[in-house]
Symmetry: C2
Amino acid sequence: MDKIGIKDIALRANVSTATVSYVLNGTRNVRPKTKERVMKVIEELNYRPNDIAKSLKSKRTNTIGVIAEDITVFNVPEIIDGINEYAEQNDMHILLTNLRLQKRVGYNYTDTDNYRQHAQDAVSNLLSKQVEGIIYIGVHTRDLSGLVNTYDKPIVYTYCYAQHACSIQYNDEQASYDAIKYLVSKGHSRIAIISGLMDSLPSRLRFNGYFKALTDYQLEFDPQFIKVGDWGLDSGYQLAYELIQLPDPPTAILIMNDLMAAGALKAAAAMGISIPEDLSIIGFDNREFSNYLSPRITTMDLPLHDMGILSMKALTNLIRGEEQPLDMIPLCHLVERESVSEPRKST
Amino acid sequence: MDKIGIKDIALRANVSTATVSYVLNGTRNVRPKTKERVMKVIEELNYRPNDIAKSLKSKRTNTIGVIAEDITVFNVPEIIDGINEYAEQNDMHILLTNLRLQKRVGYNYTDTDNYRQHAQDAVSNLLSKQVEGIIYIGVHTRDLSGLVNTYDKPIVYTYCYAQHACSIQYNDEQASYDAIKYLVSKGHSRIAIISGLMDSLPSRLRFNGYFKALTDYQLEFDPQFIKVGDWGLDSGYQLAYELIQLPDPPTAILIMNDLMAAGALKAAAAMGISIPEDLSIIGFDNREFSNYLSPRITTMDLPLHDMGILSMKALTNLIRGEEQPLDMIPLCHLVERESVSEPRKST
DNA sequence: CTGTTAGCGCGTTCAT
DNA sequence: ATGAACGCGCTAACAG
């Protein structure tokens, strides 16, 4: 039982291979009777065309490459899920490469030299496999200009970016603006912020949103309310501690990731400060664990799925050579839980 | 700047295409001087062979298909990571299909008719793309016999299984046995268990391990200590509540997933029972959130990465037509945290 | 309009 | 070291 091909079908159906191809692809009219006969044989032999041969001639593989810096990092699977959804609707397939950055270089992904070779190899391999384009999913939003060369094949970055290249990111500034707006709507006016490292674009953008909201809502600005953390739980603990210690502490803190927010929760617990009664907290990322902390924390959900869909959409446009007026940038949405309430009436 | 091919290289290096192919693949000896000349041209034109054409002739794609029932479910990414690691070492590539089961059919993945068609389509598409084998990653361990037909292409199931097919799973029985053993080592003898649904093989196997340990360590057996939950947080709450209410309650509970364990924690908190002082708890799965609960819960980590590696290894063996003496089954490992201590000295 | 013949795509590999 | 057939399906050119 050797692999059956188009000519086996042709033989058994008493037609030429061309005819079989035509019925298969509907590329040309075929007399219904003939068509039926061919179909029947295809059915019987359970024939499936060889996409490899097809691709060789058509020069289309209907396949894109997805390079994930690390698929085990929390944001990545949902992005891939979105890519997948759009790809499936357009009969595209996904060749997945996982750089495994976390395991390979730990957290110093700032020094791109550590993995440039790996990244470029991944790209080269995908190009050899004739992918029609590539989506690169970062583990952390940062500039990846010049990391890889795709030799003019379209590439879309998401959860990272590069100069002169399409990239899909959510609106950081709007997200933190909305968070502040929400706190204001709850009656807060003394709002502190704990940011991540300042070498990170999201940190800076979220600061912008914070300041913009401060201005728009005419809130008091206190330099002591600005804290810069390092994204880790301990730094959240430490900085929240400092804020709470202030002679005139804030009634709410916007914290740029859930990990630091978890640290803040610990600090509050250790200091006998109850959340949200004494202090409201908003996190960022909507990590799974944020829903299991006590209290369950109110946090900014990242539109990961949409980012996946939009990345794939953008890539599809690039592949088709269309102008991409795709400047939609997906928005974060606050998920309201238990770490925010109205501030205590102070005197 | 048209796509350059092997013949462009041949032309510029004044050799035949055959020679180029030979230097490229080292398939045959080529005079060093010629070889060097060819290499140089390849370098200059930055030529990369077209794997599609290569595959057509060689009938090898170096590509396997991975079908994930749902890539957004917690256990899947790490399995893929493992597959990836082994694949990369063997120059294999991964064509990823995501069934998106959760979003498609919610939690009633018991009724395979709901998604049989999708699964089979996924398989068929992969076969058309000439994958050399398939790995199917379930979202929940269950029997998937007859779900799909791969027409004799090798397939390996993981986190699920099927008759007459290779499947890679961790050792459930050993895991719960080890958990009990650990509790015994801490001095416990009155140990209850909260299982998941009994239509699940893991539930049954873990019960086996529990009973075996009870026997081996000559622990008292109390039918009231056996509780059957539905994997959900609420059922963990309810059943832990019942256990604590017992006139002579257990000093420890083994709970078959972290979600129910989280529920048990809530029940204990609500009832003024402190963990681990009054009651020790062991969960299962090592979900991310289990490390953020208070107390951080001691739980059985699933060897997901190993499952991925072994699946790929098993598939590779099948592809090569080797006997697969691959009956290694990976073990769970307890991660010790804060939800277990020695029991209070009673009386 | 329907069906057939034959060359092509791009590397591989055998016979020369 | 080379020429040419080959893998498998597509499609232009051609015939009825």
